[in-house]
Structures are given as structure tokens and as C-alpha cells.
């Protein structure tokens, strides 16, 4: 399309060319006016340049906007013929002219449907004709803008909002339209117009972005020979030796412009009449002793030094991430100018605990975006700076790598597909999932395969910022496998059992599979706005379901055998436990549990009760006997504890290891330390059969609350060779686990493996059971189903 020798003009040369074209066009309009309109209208009519022509910013193929300004209304019959000749002459010279005819009075009125007229007059200048008419307009306009500037500004803000939404409010398009995309010429003009419409707002100096963008726009017009402002890959290559570097500079300038436009649009909103403003003030009730929320923005109450108080900055970020409200423009400027000092002060301590509180919040993307815009994210995590504005060309990708990552984080906060939205509610460790998203593409641009490079970065970063080893392992696995589900759904036969086995083998646990599914959903959705079709959503869901089925099946079938790399005591304890145990526990825990099991061998029971992260956890080791799991669950319920998660595993030596994670809604244990001992003692006594758990919970009242989740119970005899899989989804309530487990025990079933999970108000329970050492036959399944349904719905056993 363009000769190889073409390169961008220097900024001054581009500026000269633009000004020259404006001058030349102005001369042509004046000549045509003198020939065709002046002879008919000796006074009362003037030709004005408006819009870009008025600003003397005519790019090589920009349209030319001319207004014929009249003192009084002129009949169309009188005007039509000379105006027609005037236009014709200009068209014939090759100018693309649009024109309008208005009286001075019309120019000084607000038109709801033609706010463009009022805006174009901000840039008007006289070209030809009766200068006295123009002088009248010049006198009237300042008064007009004083009176109506605010309402015009709000209209302009509305139109700008619509325009920017077409580009998903993002500057980071790989092939941007440099006029219309946020951060482009239009945003620059919006900032300048607003400073003339709103006395309270003044536009920052945007000369540098203009000088960067103008030569590019001249080039685009000359290459396409029309008013085409799309900076395509092809033209990026044509205009720059290092197109990727040029684009990085482009995004940095565009960011400056977009921030200026954001602030201009915000000022227009603030000029709203007080009643409407008050309606938007409802969120001000979120204000606390440190932060005020006003006009949907967060302000800092104390005028503290941000740079010397990194904890305050992170409390601010947590607040932003919890409520999804951005900070005020002034506070953002302060964060940006202090970002390096804030990072320096913050990095004197491990970063992860601070970052984790931000990433655990439901609207964390708002805070991460803020950190990105202010440079704080790159200052805290230099690995992030490597993908800042990074262009990786790909036909399907719409955004730069950093923007893709941020869009992916946003996707998780408003998932349109209910299946995946439910999964998001269930995911265990949302901060880790978000950390994995943040890092999944940091290896791009390294020249090496990006998944493994990103994994390497995640591992090194996690260690440096003080992430616990178990969390590092989870994040790096998610990063390493972030293309695994895409590849499963696109290139593997999901009807083939081997596909599920490979997937289950690589992912390891249901918890990681859920996180990986969400990461994949977000990653695909953030490629471009139409990438996540419902067809792809179905395929991804299918991949998740087959993986989950396989992992549930393996709970019972995949057992640890001849474990190497541990002493004989530990190996003996591990022998015959489900493989899941290895993937969800650390080497330290293996040893601790083995010791517990040894103690249990001697005493009949051993238990470990600890409190962590606001929850309690009890690990119980004992020789197996019927009804054990139900007894422990019952003891916890009798103490008013709310079971959130539970696992029951048995090894080949006939020993069980049951783990319960539970909440203490009435803070019984926290407020009465002696109750902790009593709970320990009670569990030991029910395990040893010295106390009847039924008596303990006899006084417990059944819950009379209406059920919102309909109970579902499924049986599967194909999942394992020796046991029946029972899956139960029911509304969670205190005592449910005990009710279900004791129903099974009462029906003569032995519980082999258990995995209990609760998500929101749902209990998701997986039991592997046998009756007299065999799978459950149809008759026993039917009777157990109705007993379990009864337990789910009435809360009575």
C-alpha cells in the first residue's frame, strides 16, 4: 500500500502540513464566497470555519465544516442557487465540504438533539463575508456559554460516554482508531472543550500527545487517501521500524489523554443539579473514619503522607476493591506521583499479606486497575511492568497484554453465564485465582513459550513477596496450566475416557479444577468481546464436568501405594489413603498426621484442634468403626458448630483420618477457653463409644426455615469398583452433615470416603459408601434415597 521508504514526519513538519492545508482551504472558501455569495448578499451573511477547520487542524483528508452565518433568516429560494454554486465549486476542487446555515439567534440556543452545533461553535473562526455579523456572534457566544455551558457539558459527556463504550472504554486496542478510541484525538478535544464550558475545570497540557499523534494521523490519511484513522497492523509496520515500540509509546500518550478526558467527564457530572447529585450520593453511607465516599468517588479524610504510610494505601485499595468505587481524581494524582516511594516503603515488609487482602475482595479489579494507572502495580511488581502496554500480535486478540489481563479480572466480577457465576461463588481462595490471572501472561514477550515462562515468574515472585509455599504451588500450577482446558476442549475427544484421566491427572484436585475453569473462562472472554460464545461456554463446561467426574471417581479408586520419599512410619500411615490426600497436604502435615495415627493406635483416638483464618479445624485419627464420621459430626453440631468442609479418609491399616473445618457462629470457643477442652473431650468420648451422640444432640431443635435449595441426591455404581458414589446437593444448615451421615449409618451403610463442601448456602457432599462390603443394590439405593431426602427436607433423622 505504501512505499517502503515512507516514514513518519517529524512533529513540526506534520503541524506545518496541517496548518497549511487549513490556510489553503480557508483561501479557497473565501474565493468561492467572493464569486458566488458576495454578489447576491452584500451584507448580513458570513462564512465561518467550525470544528477541526476552525481549530486549523485539517489533516490531509479531514472533512471541512463551513457554516453560513446570517443575521436574519433568508428564504431558501433566495439562498439555494448561489449557495449551491458555492458548494459545487469547492467540491470540484476536491474538498469534502459539509455546510450548515444558521442565524446568530439559532447559534445561541441549546438544542437537545443537536448539541454538536453548540460544540462546533467553540472552535469557530471568520473566513469571509460580512464581518459585522460575525462580530455579533462573538459578542453573544460568551454569554451563551456562561449560561448554558454546564448543560452542554453534560450532553457532551453523555455522547462521549457512548462513543467510548463502543471501544469498551479501553485505550489498549491492538489496532486503535486514533481519532475515536479513548485516548485519541476526540478525547483530547473533549478535555479542551470542557475547560471552556466549565469554569471549574482546566485541561492539562496535552501538547506532547498531540505532537506524537499528529504525524501518525497525517500518515494514515495519506496512506489510505481518505479520512481513515485506523492504525492497522499493516500501517504500523509501514510507518515504524519497531512497530511494537511505537505502539507502547502510543499507549502511554493515549493514557495521558484518557486520564485528562476522564477527569473532564467527571467534572461535567459534578456540575449536575443538586437533586440528581443527591440521588447518586447513596453510597456515601459507606464512608468510615479514614475514607469518605462522595459523588461516587473515594476521598482520603486525613491529609496524611501517602508515601510514608503504605498500610494506609493498602487499606484504601482494600476499600476500593470491596466497594468497587474509584478514588477521586486528586487522590489518584497523589498516588501516581508518590507511587515509587509508596512501593519502596511497602516492600520493606512481605507484600503478599497486603496484596491478598486486596485480591480477596469482590471488586478487586477496580483497585488493580487503579494500581495499574498510577504505576503502583509496576513499582510493586516489576514483572508486571514487562507487559505494560505490550503488543503481541494475534488476529483474535483485541487488546494489549496488560489490558487483556485486567479485562480478564473484570470478567470474573460479572459472569453472565450462571453455571460459571455459581462456580465463582464456590471457588476456594479467590485471591489465589486472581493472582494467577494477574500473572498468567507475564511471560509473554520473553521470546520463550509463555505458559512456562509465566510459571517461572509466578514461582519466583511468590517466594519474593512472602506467599506461603502451598499457595505458590497453587498459583504456579494455575499459571502453568492456563491453556490446558482450552486445549482439552479444542483438540481432545471429550467422549474418550482418557481425556478426562489426563486432565484429572494434570489438575489434581476439584478445587484447582474449579479455579482453572474460571481462569480459562476469564482468559477466553478477555480476548475480544465476542470470543466467549455460548458454544465455547458449553465446551468449557463439558471439559470441567468430565474433569470433575473423574476427580470424584478417583477419590475412591486412586489410592496411595508404596509411597517413596518418606520414612517408614509416614509411609505406613499413607498406605491406602486416597491420592487426594497427597495433593492437599504438605510433607509436614504427613508427619504430623502419622504421629497422630500412632497415638490413636495406643489410645484409641487422637485429635488436633486448631484455629486459623477465622475458622476452626479438627483432625481426628482413630481405628475405624461403623458410624464414626457421623458421631464426630454430631458432637460438633451439639456444640453449635457449623461444619463448612469435611474429609473422611481411611488407610489400609483400618485407621481413619477425618478432618472437619467449621465455623463457630456464637463464638462459644473463642469466648470460653474451657469449652475448647470440653469439645476435645466430647469428640474423644464419642469416638471411643463412651458417650452416645444421639443423646448429645437430642435437645437440638430442627430448623423451620423454608428451603431455598431443592435437595438432589444421585447414586452412581460405575464410579468405583467396590463402592457406591452418593452425591448430595442440599441447602446447608447446622447439623446437616450429622443428619446425612447418621442416616447412612442407620441404613446399614459404611462410609468409605467423604468430601463435604459448602458454598454460599449450598452443601455439596460426596460420599462413597458400601453395605456389607459391597455396592448398594437398587432396592437399598431407593430406601436410602428417601431417607436422605427426608433428612434434607425436615432436618429430623
Amino acid at each position: 500500500m505504501c512505499p517502503e521508504t515512507w516514514r513518519l514526519l517529524p512533529a513540526e513538519a506534520a503541524e506545518r502540513r496541517i496548518a497549511q492545508r487549513s490556510e489553503a482551504a480557508g483561501g479557497m472558501v473565501a474565493d468561492a464566497f467572493a464569486r458566488h455569495l458576495a454578489p447576491v448578499f452584500s451584507n448580513g451573511v458570513a462564512a465561518l470555519a467550525v470544528g477541526g477547520f476552525g481549530r486549523r487542524e485539517l489533516f490531509p483528508h479531514s472533512d471541512i465544516d463551513v457554516m453560513l452565518l446570517t443575521r436574519q433568516e433568508i428564504s431558501s429560494t433566495k439562498l439555494k442557487e448561489p449557495a449551491g454554486r458555492f458548494m459545487q465549486e469547492l467540491w470540484d476542487t476536491g474538498l469534502r465540504l459539509s455546510h450548515s446555515v444558521h442565524t446568530v439567534d439559532e447559534c445561541c440556543q441549546v438544542y437537545d438533539h443537536n448539541v454538536e452545533l453548540s460544540i462546533s461553535l467553540l472552535d469557530q473562526r471568520f473566513l469571509a463575508g460580512d464581518s459585522a455579523v460575525h462580530a455579533e456572534l462573538e459578542t453573544e457566544l460568551p454569554r451563551f456559554y456562561r449560561m448554558h455551558g454546564r448543560s452542554i457539558a453534560r450532553q457532551l459527556a453523555k455522547l462521549s460516554g457512548l462513543r467510548r463504550a463502543k471501544f469498551h472504554n479501553s485505550i489498549y486496542h491492538l489496532e486503535p482508531n486514533i481519532k475515536e478510541t479513548p485516548g485519541g484525538f476526540r478525547d483530547m478535544q473533549v478535555a479542551q472543550w470542557m475547560s471552556r464550558l466549565l469554569p471549574a475545570y482546566s485541561a492539562p497540557d496535552l501538547k506532547a500527545p498531540w505532537a506524537f499523534l499528529a504525524p501518525i494521523r497525517v500518515f494514515l490519511h495519506e496512506a489510505s487517501k481518505r479520512d481513515d484513522n485506523l492504525l492497522s497492523f499493516e500501517l504500523q509496520d509501514a510507518m515504524a521500524g519497531q512497530p511494537a515500540e511505537m505502539m507502547r509509546s502510543y499507549y502511554r500518550h493515549a493514557r495521558t489523554v484518557a486520564v485528562a478526558a476522564d477527569q473532564a467527564l467527571l467534572s461535567a457530572e459534578e456540575s449536575q443539579p443538586s437533586l440528581i447529585r443527591q440521588l447518586r450520593e447513596w453510597r456515601s453511607r459507606l464512608s468510615n473514619s479514614e475514607f469518605t465516599v462522595s459523588r461516587d468517588r473515594v476521598f482520603l479524610r486525613a491529609a496524611g503522607q501517602l508515601s510514608s504510610e503504605p498500610d494506609l494505601v493498602f487499606r484504601l485499595l482494600e476499600f476500593v476493591a470491596r466497594h468497587g468505587i474509584d478514588v477521586s481524581p486528586d487522590l489518584e494524582r497523589r498516588l501516581a506521583s508518590a507511587s515509587d516511594e509508596i512501593a519502596k516503603a511497602a516492600l520493606t515488609k512481605p507484600l503478599w499479606p497486603l496484596l491478598e487482602t486486596v485480591l480477596s475482595q469482590p471488586k478487586s479489579s477496580v483497585a488493580v486497575r487503579l494500581m495499574h494507572r498510577t504505576g503502583l502495580l509496576g513499582a510493586l511488581i516489576p514483572e508486571w511492568a514487562r507487559i505494560d502496554c505490550l503488543v503481541v500480535r494475534d488476529y483474535y486478540h483485541r487488546y494489549t497484554v496488560d489490558e487483556h489481563t485486567l479485562v480478564a479480572m473484570e470478567v470474573l466480577e460479572s459472569i453472565p453465564d450462571k453455571r460459571f457465576a455459581d462456580l465463582m461463588q464456590e471457588v476456594d481462595g479467590s485471591a489465589l485465582l486472581r493472582a494467577a490471572i494477574l500473572l498468567h501472561d507475564t511471560g509473554k514477550g520473553s521470546g520463550r513459550e509463555h505458559s512456562s515462562e509465566s510459571e517461572r515468574i509466578a514461582a519466583a515472585l511468590g517466594k519474593r513477596i512472602g506467599m506461603p509455599q502451598h499457595d505458590i504451588d497453587r498459583v504456579r500450577q494455575l499459571v502453568a496450566l492456563h491453556l490446558e482446558l482450552s486445549s482439552t476442549m479444542n483438540t481432545r475427544d471429550m467422549d474418550d475416557g482418557r481425556t478426562a484421566r489426563i486432565l484429572a491427572d494434570r489438575v489434581g484436585t476439584v478445587e484447582q479444577l474449579k479455579a482453572l475453569t474460571l481462569l480459562t473462562f476469564a482468559d477466553i472472554s478477555a480476548v475480544n468481546p465476542t470470543a466467549m460464545t455460548s458454544w465455547r461456554g458449553d465446551q468449557l463446561w463439558r471439559a470441567y464436568v468430565i474433569g470433575r467426574e473423574e476427580l470424584t471417581r478417583e477419590l475412591e479408586t486412586e489410592r496411595i501405594h508404596d509411597f517413596h520419599g518418606a520414612d517408614t512410619r509416614v509411609a505406613r500411615f499413607l498406605e491406602g489413603l486416597p491420592g487426594r490426600y497427597l495433593r492437599t497436604h504438605s510433607g509436614e502435615e504427613f508427619a504430623g498426621h502419622a504421629a497422630l495415627a500412632e497415638l490413636a493406635e495406643e489410645k484409641g483416638v487422637a485429635l488436633d484442634l486448631v484455629r486459623s483464618n477465622g475458622y476452626w479445624r479438627v483432625v481426628v485419627a482413630a481405628p475405624d468403626r461403623p458410624g464414626l464420621f457421623a458421631s464426630i459430626a454430631g458432637a460438633l453440631s451439639a456444640f453449635g458448630m457449623n461444619i463448612l468442609k469435611a474429609e473422611a479418609f481411611a488407610n489400609s491399616n483400618g485407621h481413619i483420618l477425618d478432618t472437619f473445618t467449621f465455623g463457630d457462629p456464637l463464638r462459644t470457643l473463642e469466648l470460653n477457653p474451657s469449652e475448647t477442652d470440653r469439645l476435645r473431650d466430647t469428640i474423644a468420648r464419642v469416638v471411643l463409644g463412651k458417650q452416645d451422640v444421639r443423646k448429645l444432640i437430642a435437645s437440638r431443635r430442627s430448623s423451620a426455615k423454608p428451603r431455598r435449595v431443592e435437595a438432589r441426591i444421585g447414586f452412581n455404581n460405575d464410579a468405583s469398583q467396590s463402592a457406591t458414589l452418593v452425591e448430595i446437593v442440599a441447602e446447608d444448615r447446622p447439623g446437616l452433615v450429622y443428619d446425612l451421615a447418621s442416616t447412612m449409618s442407620n441404613a446399614g451403610c459404611d462410609i468409605v470416603v467423604v468430601l463435604i463442601d459448602t458454598e454460599a448456602s449450598k452443601a455439596l457432599d460426596v460420599f462413597y459408601v458400601t453395605a456389607k462390603g459391597a455396592k448398594l443394590d437398587a432396592a437399598r439405593q431407593a430406601s436410602l434415597r428417601s431417607a436422605l431426602m427426608e433428612a434434607c427436607s425436615t432436618g429430623r433423622v
Binding site: 476442549m489 483438540t491 467422549d495 465455547r536 458449553d538 464436568v545 444421585g714 452412581n716 458414589l725 452425591e727
Partner: protein, 112 residues
């Protein structure tokens, strides 16, 4: 000229595209579709519940080829898309009356 419409398994797309490329066919339209033939969907188990999935995800390929290349293209499609199991898909062949390149109004096989 013949129009070929092939409904294939999604995971076979890359292999089929690659096979067509090796015989010089790289112009085609690809759509993500749902449907079923004799396969009649399948049962999916999620959280203990069985769901009947009636419409299965498939890929539809459409291409127009000169009549004398029909057999070669169809054979390539069959061999690269086959797994031997139910659900491998179908191929339909239609006669094409005319092909027109919009850019320059070129007609017939040279417009392909």
C-alpha cells in the same frame, strides 16, 4: 463446481484443516454449530444429577471446489475427521450454479 458441507467433531478441526491444506485447500468457512443425528445427545452427570444433553457441539465446514477435485477433497475430509465412533459427523455435496468474486466480478472456477 461443488459445494461441500462437512459436520465434524470439534476436536478434529485442526487435523482436518491441516489435511486440507496439504492438498492445497485453504479457503473455507468454519462455524460453531450444535446439532444431532443418530447420536441423539448424551447423558452428563453433574453433582449427582444426570442431564440429557440433546444438542451436541459440532463444527461445520463449508467450501466450494472445482468438480474434478471433489473426490480428493471428500476423501481427505473423511480420513482426517474419522475416529470410527458414533458422532463423527456427515458430509453433504451440492451442485453450484455459479461463483462470482465481488471485487472484480470474475465468474466460474477462477472466482474460487
Amino acid at each position: 463446481m461443488k459445494k461441500i458441507e462437512a459436520i465434524i467433531q470439534p476436536h478434529k478441526l485442526e487435523e482436518v484443516k491441516e489435511a486440507l491444506k496439504t492438498i492445497g485447500i485453504d479457503g473455507m468457512t468454519i462455524s460453531e454449530v450444535r446439532g444431532h443425528g443418530r447420536q441423539k445427545g448424551h447423558k452428563e452427570v453433574y453433582r449427582g444429577m444426570e442431564y440429557q444433553v440433546d444438542l451436541l457441539p459440532k463444527i461445520k465446514l463449508e467450501m466450494v471446489v472445482p468438480s474434478d477435485r471433489l473426490d480428493e477433497v471428500v476423501n481427505t475430509l473423511v480420513s482426517s475427521a474419522r475416529t470410527g465412533k458414533i458422532g463423527d459427523g456427515k458430509i453433504f455435496v451440492f451442485d453450484v450454479a455459479e461463483a462470482i468474486r465481488i471485487r472484480n466480478d470474475e465468474r466460474g472456477e477462477s472466482a474460487l
